[in-house]
Amino acid sequence: MKAVVPEEILINAIAANLDGLKHVAVGASSPIPGAAALLARSRSQGRMRVSILGSEDNNFFSDGGKEIFDVAGQGRMDAFFLSGAQIDGKANVNLVSVGEYQQPKARFPGSFGSGYLYFVVPRVILFRLEHTPRTLVEEVDFISAPGFSDANVYRPGGPHKLITDRCLFDVDKKRKCFRLESIHPGHSVDEIHEQTGFKFDLPEGEIPETSTPNTDILSIIRGEVASEISEIYPAFAARVFGVNSTV
C-alpha cells in the first residue's frame, strides 16, 4: 500500500470530529473537508447526511439559496467548515480584506455565509492549509464572523477545532482561545510556535502526534471517498489519489 499523504491525515483527523452527527454541510472550495465528511458518512451506517455546495450528487436542497441557511438557523445542521484569509487567536475569521477596509491592501471574495453560520452551527471546524504568521494572526483586520460572543447574544454555534497543515487545535470556550491538541507527523512544537501569530495554550503532558489512518480507513478514503470527491474536485482527486474523473 502506498505511503500515507498529509491530505489523508487531515481527512482522517477531521472525520473523527464528525462521527455521530446527523447532518454535515460543506461549503465551496473545500476538498479536504468534503472528503472528511464523505468518510464520516461512509462509516455512519446510513445515519449521516452530507450536503456539499457545488455538488450535484451530494446536494439535496430544493428551495433555493436560502434553504441551507434556514436549515442551519433551525438547528438542523450539526457541523460546517470555515476557512479564512486570516484567523486570529480569538477564533475571529476574516474573509474580506487586509489593511484599511475602504481601500485595502488585499481584497478577498467576501464573507459568504460565515457571518451567520458561525453563530448557529454547533460544530464549526476551522481549516487553514497555510499555517504561517501571515494567516494565523494576533488580530484579524476585518471580522467576517467573531469567534465568541457576549453572553446575551444568541450563539448556539461556534468554533469546535482549528486544523492546519501543521497541527490540530482544540477550542477552549471558557478561556476563549485555542489549545494545541496534536501535531501532524513530521512537524514540531517549536515550528508551530514560530509559525503561529497568536498565543495558544499547550496540553498537559506530552503533545500527541495526530494519528495516521489505519489500512481500513485508508481503503475507504482511496476507494469510495476518492471516487465521490472527484465529481466536485477532479483536480484534487487526481493529484492526491490518482483518480481520473470520468466527468
Binding site: A28, D63, G65, P104, F112, L117, V120, A145, P146
Partner: protein, 275 residues
Amino acid sequence: MLATQLTIDQLASRIPDGAKLALPPDYAYCSLIAARALMRRKAKNLHLVGVPSLGFQADMLIGAGCVDIVETAAVTLSEYGLAPRFTAAIKGAKIKMMDATCPAIHAALQASEKGIPFIPLRGLIGSDILAHREDWKVGKNPFAENDPIVYLPALKPDVALIHAPVGDKYGNVWVGVRREQMLMAHAASETFVTVEEIVDGNLMDDLKMKAGTIPGLYISGITESDKGAWPLGIPGGYNADHEHLRRYVDLAQTDEGFQQYMDEFITEASSEAAE
C-alpha cells in the same frame, strides 16, 4: 396576457442608469448576453446586488465602468481565482462596497417579497460586516428580554436580471430548482429575463413545470437568447467555456488587457445586437 418580447438591446435599454440591479451567482442562470448589451450601451452608476454572491458577470460590468455600488456576500470566480476587475476597483476605492452575508441578502429580499419594511436575522452581532452597514440596526426581540437581534431593511431591487432554460409567450419562465431566481423576481420592481428558448404552449399547463416556474405576472420583458449564459454554462444544459473564462481572467489582470477583451467580445460583438 402575452409577454413583452424584446431584442437584447431593447432589454438593456429598459435597465436604467443608477438602477439597483439584482444578479444571480455564476452557478445559477446568469444572462451574460444582457450584461454585454449593458456594457455596449455604456450603462452607468449601477448598484449591483448579488443574490447572494456575484461572479464573472459583475467583474465585467465593474471593469466596463458600469457600476458604482456592489452589495453582496462575495464576488468570486471560484476555481479561477480572485475577480480581477472587482479587486482592482476595490483597491483603488473606485466602487462603494456593501459587504453582506448570504442569508442577510436572502432574508432582506424575502421582506420585500412580503411587502414588510424589515426582517430580523440571527448572527452578525460583533462582526465588521454589521459595523460597516449603516443601513442595518441591532434591535430588541419584542417577545423576549435581553435578546439583541439584527434588523435588516427590506431589499427591493429596481430590476432583477436573470436567465433561464425556457420561457413561454405568456412570460412564464421555468427556473426549476434555482428558486433564488424566483425570490429575485418576487422582490424586485421589475424582472427582465433572457431564455434559451421560448416554447409553444403554456408552461403552467404542466404541473411538474409549474412548480419551478415564475409566473409572467412578475416579468417585464423577455428575450430569446440561445446560449445566453455563455461563457458561463447552465446547470443541466451546457458547460461553461473554461478556455474563454481562463482567457478573460488572464486579460482582465490589467486595464489594457480588459480593454482588449471588451474590444474583441463586447464592443465589436454587434452580431448579438442584430439578432
